[in-house]
């Protein structure tokens, strides 16, 4: 292995260790939240149909909840890691190291992706006794999952670079990530919405992540899968371009 590869793998391992050492917070907690949502909503809405043929409301709900957790946790993993290192001042160890922007990008992204894979798998495993999901379009499922997790990891990296304290990350989470993920059809089919909201949903990238993810399970969704994949890919490319540009120019990280 070349020294650069060892450097990259070390950073990746370090980032994995960081969330691994607090699995209770980073994996168990989101799984519990999701199970609670599922129990409460499935009970409250048990008489509702899902708008999809042959799919119960509980089945309809689960992929959306999983994707919502993926979105929130991918963002949290990268953003909190960078901000914490910035505040503690230990980011200098990494900044003085012979690692380039692409290694930073790749290592932070992959670590976040590993965390959300664990989160998603754990959620599906824990809910298996009550809800069984078909997998009609595995490739679409995988593609939407990877693109969504990666995009949010990258957005988290950007937020971490820009933020100067934890409050900034909290504000970004509370005013952007959480509302957009709730307003993206997790709990309902957007067809059920009034026209204005229905149209607004179609400008929300999180809607396509959730809708595309659902397509992967059911083979049917509100938007055509090609459109969802295009939105997810476009969002990933755009956020990556912004993030890499920041890393290359040293935006905010280099005084």
């Amino acid at each position: 292995m070349s020294p650069d590869q060892i450097g990259f793998l070390t950073l990746l391992k370090k980032e994995v260790k960081r969330f691994w050492s607090v699995l209770g917070q980073t994996v168990t907690a989101p799984v519990i939240t999701t199970v609670l949502y599922l129990l409460v909503f499935a009970q409250a809405m048990k008489d509702r149909s899902s708008a999809y043929d042959g799919i119960s409301y509980t089945q309809f709900l689960l992929p959306g909840l999983v994707m919502m957790a993926v979105i929130q946790n991918a963002f949290a993993n990268t953003s909190s890691s960078i901000v914490q290192s910035k505040i503690m001042g230990n980011l200098v160890f990494l900044q003085m190291a012979p690692l380039g922007p692409f290694e930073w990008f790749g290592a932070y992204l992959l670590a976040a992706l590993l965390r959300v894979t664990l989160v998603a798998m754990a959620m599906l495993a824990v809910t298996l006794p009550f809800v069984s999901l078909p997998i009609q379009a595995p490739w679409a499922l995988l593609a939407v999952f990877l693109l969504s997790g990666s995009s949010l990891a990258v957005i988290g990296l950007i937020a971490g670079i820009v933020a100067e304290k934890f409050d900034h990350i909290a504000a970004f989470t509370n005013f952007f990530i959480v509302p957009l993920s709730f307003l993206s059809g997790v709990f309902y089919s957007v067809h059920a919405l009034p026209t204005l909201w229905y149209q607004a949903s179609h400008l929300n990238p999180f809607f396509y992540m959730i809708d595309g993810f659902r397509y992967g399970f059911f083979g049917q969704a509100d938007a055509p899968i090609a459109l969802s994949l295009a939105w997810c890919a476009g969002f990933f490319v755009l956020s990556s371009a912004v993030c890499l540009r920041m890393l290359i120019t040293g935006y905010k990280l280099k005084k």
């Binding site: 450097g7 793998l9 070390t10 391992k13 160890f93």
Partner: protein
């Protein structure tokens, strides 16, 4: 002799504040080099630029011949920096932290014995498994030093490694850096303890207000201002004659200290003046100027706030 660090035309401003106003000098391979200057002189800023933490507005820096911007990977592999601030990652143990740091530089398991050796040398073996947050300040400082050395860089920069450190640890650090230097490492030291710089450094640069005031070998620097100090304890009630008053620079433990410029104020002249005035002397001492005196001469400031009674 070959150059370890070359600094050319380096300028840096923070908003309206000019931290570095065009710095040019080089540090030779194998040198023990002192970078001195009062608070805010720009020492840490210059070190951050060499390390690639801070962007310079103009100029070039190279480490062992590698440009720190264009060839940052090679340049950084040649360099180990101990930062001035006590920074640490609370998530990891001492040993994990050092292994991670080695990994960043492309060193795998082959670096582990060296890590254990450093832990031993820096008296950290017992703390190897402790979390970083459970260490005292002096221990954290030692971990920072080990961290800078994990990849065995040929050039090491220590930004005030002995600030807030007890006497024993200071001695350990001196021995440790002296040994590194003996083995061929280029060592750059920043400190406000000038006796430390005088003792250890072969060559010294003094920065003041973002500009290089002087760069000379330590003996040259000490010989630069030909003066010496004369301490006189006069018999009770005696007053120094008028002609000697302009030479007074201070009072130490009841003795008056005079600064005599060689050639201009011979010591014999002082005694003649005292005898002529009929003043009895109780005690006499002379003192050669040390780096502290040269520093004050050049920057108009003390390197460290003077301790009471010193």
């Amino acid at each position: 002799m070959q150059t370890a660090i070359a600094i050319a035309g380096v300028r840096k401003t923070y908003g309206r504040l000019t931290a570095l106003r065009g710095i040019d000098f080089s540090i030779r391979q194998g040198e023990f080099f002192g970078l001195l200057g009062p608070n805010g002189a720009g020492k840490s800023t210059l070190i951050s630029i060499i390390a690639g933490l801070t962007r310079m507005d103009a100029g070039q820096v190279s480490v062992m011949g590698y440009d720190t911007v264009l060839q940052f990977r090679q340049a950084r592999r040649q360099l180990g920096v101990v930062p001035q601030e006590l920074v640490f990652d609370p998530f990891f143990t001492v040993r994990d932290m050092l292994r991670i740091q080695a990994g960043y530089y492309g060193c795998g398991r082959e670096a582990w014995p060296w890590i254990d050796e450093m832990l031993e040398r820096l008296d950290l073996s017992e703390k190897a498994g402790s979390s970083m947050r459970a260490l005292s300040g002096g221990m954290k400082r030692r971990v920072l030093i080990a961290q800078a050395l994990v990849h065995r860089p040929p050039v090491v920069i220590l930004d005030e490694p002995t600030a807030g450190v007890d006497v024993e640890l200071r001695r350990t650090l001196w021995e440790f850096t002296t040994e590194l230097h003996r083995q061929g490492t280029t060592v750059v030291l920043t400190t406000h303890y000038l006796e430390e710089a005088q003792e250890l450094c072969e060559r010294i640069a003094i920065l003041d207000k973002g500009a290089l005031q002087v760069i000379e070998t330590t003996p040259q620097l000490l010989a630069r201002h030909p003066f010496r100090f004369l301490r006189l304890k006069l018999a009770d009630g005696s007053v120094l004659p008028e002609s000697l008053r302009p030479m007074v620079v201070g009072e130490v433990n009841g003795a008056i200290e005079l600064k005599l410029e060689s050639g201009k104020h011979p010591i014999a002249g002082v005694f003649v003046a005292l005898r002529d005035a009929g003043i009895a002397i109780e005690d006499v001492q002379t003192r050669e100027p040390d780096l502290e005196d040269i520093f004050v001469e050049l920057t108009g400031e003390h390197a460290r706030p003077q301790e009471a009674g010193a």
